[in-house]
Symmetry: none
Subunit: 224 residues, 4 copies
Amino acid sequence: MARAKPESAAAPADADARDRLVAAAQEAFAEHGFKGATVRAICAAAGANVAAVNYYFGDKEALYVEAVKAAHLCAGRMDTVPVPPAGAPPVEKLRAFIREMVSRMHAPASPTAMKLMMREMAHPGRAAHVVVTEFIQPAAFALRGILRELLPALSEPELLMVGFSVMGQCLFYRQNRPVSELIFGKAEVDALTVEMVTDHVVRFTLAALGHAPPIGAKKPGGKR
Amino acid sequence: MARAKPESAAAPADADARDRLVAAAQEAFAEHGFKGATVRAICAAAGANVAAVNYYFGDKEALYVEAVKAAHLCAGRMDTVPVPPAGAPPVEKLRAFIREMVSRMHAPASPTAMKLMMREMAHPGRAAHVVVTEFIQPAAFALRGILRELLPALSEPELLMVGFSVMGQCLFYRQNRPVSELIFGKAEVDALTVEMVTDHVVRFTLAALGHAPPIGAKKPGGKR
Amino acid sequence: MARAKPESAAAPADADARDRLVAAAQEAFAEHGFKGATVRAICAAAGANVAAVNYYFGDKEALYVEAVKAAHLCAGRMDTVPVPPAGAPPVEKLRAFIREMVSRMHAPASPTAMKLMMREMAHPGRAAHVVVTEFIQPAAFALRGILRELLPALSEPELLMVGFSVMGQCLFYRQNRPVSELIFGKAEVDALTVEMVTDHVVRFTLAALGHAPPIGAKKPGGKR
Amino acid sequence: MARAKPESAAAPADADARDRLVAAAQEAFAEHGFKGATVRAICAAAGANVAAVNYYFGDKEALYVEAVKAAHLCAGRMDTVPVPPAGAPPVEKLRAFIREMVSRMHAPASPTAMKLMMREMAHPGRAAHVVVTEFIQPAAFALRGILRELLPALSEPELLMVGFSVMGQCLFYRQNRPVSELIFGKAEVDALTVEMVTDHVVRFTLAALGHAPPIGAKKPGGKR
DNA sequence: AATGAATGAGCCTTCATTCAT
DNA sequence: GATGAATGAAGGCTCATTCAT
């Protein structure tokens, strides 16, 4: 926020102390939550002094906010990236949106970054405002716009729920992956590649909206 | 003279200290997480001594596990509940399953039991095993059975993803409610009643599976 | 303030932890001031745990207040003790007042208690209100009453300054003893017994007020 | 090229960093004590670097000593100032001495230099020696000389106590001003001007010594 | 059986100080 | 000469836990 050197985004090892601190904080906060993570552990993991977090950020909480902000920066803005075909048909836009969303949820650039974001979303607190207004809200409105094009006759609440159905499918793969692995086995879940999931969610959704043959039908075959 | 023993966990009615402790722990852990909740606050809320948690459970962590276990007991088994149409057609079974699931997830205020379970599911740890094997797993297998009946031709991975799409839609309303309210406004989100959401998820899913007209179509239109 | 066992006042060694804590705190605060004294050192000196001060008093500051209050309690109330001859002639009352005041300043029951009181008086802060209203104020008003009897014609400001002259003489022996010893030598200053100082201050004051022969005159001799 | 060296302490006019540091230190130490004042705050107030105090003085404590020394320099020597009547009658000398002393102690607001000196005198430590030998001692001896002239027959201890009575009256107005204001109200105490206090202390003392009519007598009475 | 007084480990933070520039 | 980024020691305080009762 107040620095002029945002060079290489993820700072795993050799970046300067401040960036290493943020990276370590993401990891720690994602793993143990705000209270569970200790600044001592974070500083140790970042190879910095115990006083470093107070020196660079002034506060444990400020570091937390910074970590969440960095996480969503690292994940990229949702409103700019996903919809390459600006004037394309809405079905294509939706397909692109889901593809982008699923791929982000599936194998994000920084796993811990996503994890941290999810944690904050589940229990909004200190940094919720930043994440929501800068990261989530644009995506949500973009999706709503696409869906409105596709379903011009739907009432607002119905449109809202359609959007929730799309987001629910995408978020599931991140929010409930650990439990899924416990139930069905890690191998089974890991076998689902990004492509498979993307195709499935796109098809499931488009089928529900009447823009593709239903799931039971022969793959890309005749109308039946 | 007083009580026989603090043996059987679930207390029938008048709630002695041990049960009040578990109830208070559910509330506290659901609200502040494991580290955030203090045993002092829990004991105070339960009207018990500071040493009560150690006396009854031996450990803060043991109390946590007990609280989560009690939560899933309180929430009820997922495989037994939605049985109304035991041998009914699979579409009806699916409808019943979704109805049950959505209504459980939907509780607007905060049935602390569910909240606590969700927290534990998001970051599986201490008590994940019990919750998963006794609560989630049966539900997941029940859903898988229903879907298999509906879609006999699907491959295993495809079936898995269909189940994830159903669960994703249902869970969304609990896991992402706070953020949804931040984005679209609390009023908009609260306006979605259990009935509306149930109907929507059922219809969206059945439409995707080809067992109902798609969402865009005229609502109460012809059978096709 | 909230305990029911004010048994033996000064608790040097075997009293319960709380009292030992207050005693140690008096010593430490008197010696190093509020910020200079550490709760760790205080607890160590009291043979108590590091958390003891927070357990018994909740705060370092609360302990400070308690220490100051205990100090003035230990020194005794000023309004009740000194004026035995209730209806005696004012000169006698003044003599008694000065005697009491000087002897307290000179060799108080607990040297550190007095020192602590003086410190707080010099830089009033946290505990000033208690000390002033409960200990200093009564003494000041008692003195003012005595002086008003002696000097009925004096204006208020003049009476105030006469009181200050009396108090200034008495307090000097406590507030500036260390410096006095540095200048004139410890032996010289220590040679001044309570009796000598009392007699001197009484005589100096009464002489100034015209109720005794001046200092230069032959001791208790003729009018000159 | 810039300045020769930070050698001579007292700066004449434009105040370079070192001098600003000392000034800021006086203020801070006088207000918050040694531990209470932070070098960061001092440097900030002096518009200097955080490392400036260590660079110029080597130590926080060294800066403290320097500040106290500068304070006593700034306050001026006590033996040289009140010389107006060099060979005047001793009564006049005493009058001049008290006048000088009272006016120095009386400064109503906060000439930080004096405040700092008083603090150090109350708890002699690091810098006590310099202050005493260079500032207090000369004044004390000057006073003793004057009193010896006035009271040639007195024993040494008696003379000492007379000196203490004079000093006690003067110092009272600085050492106990805050408490006095708390007891009698700020307005009452502030109403006592330097002139009033000077006149009172002179008269009180001279009366005690038999060189003026006692306090109770008619104010502007005959010379006697 | 059940309590609450007491403990010690550990947390976040501050602060005087240093070192490379 | 003078700076400011960075450090480590220490401080106040919280909290889960225990031990006599």
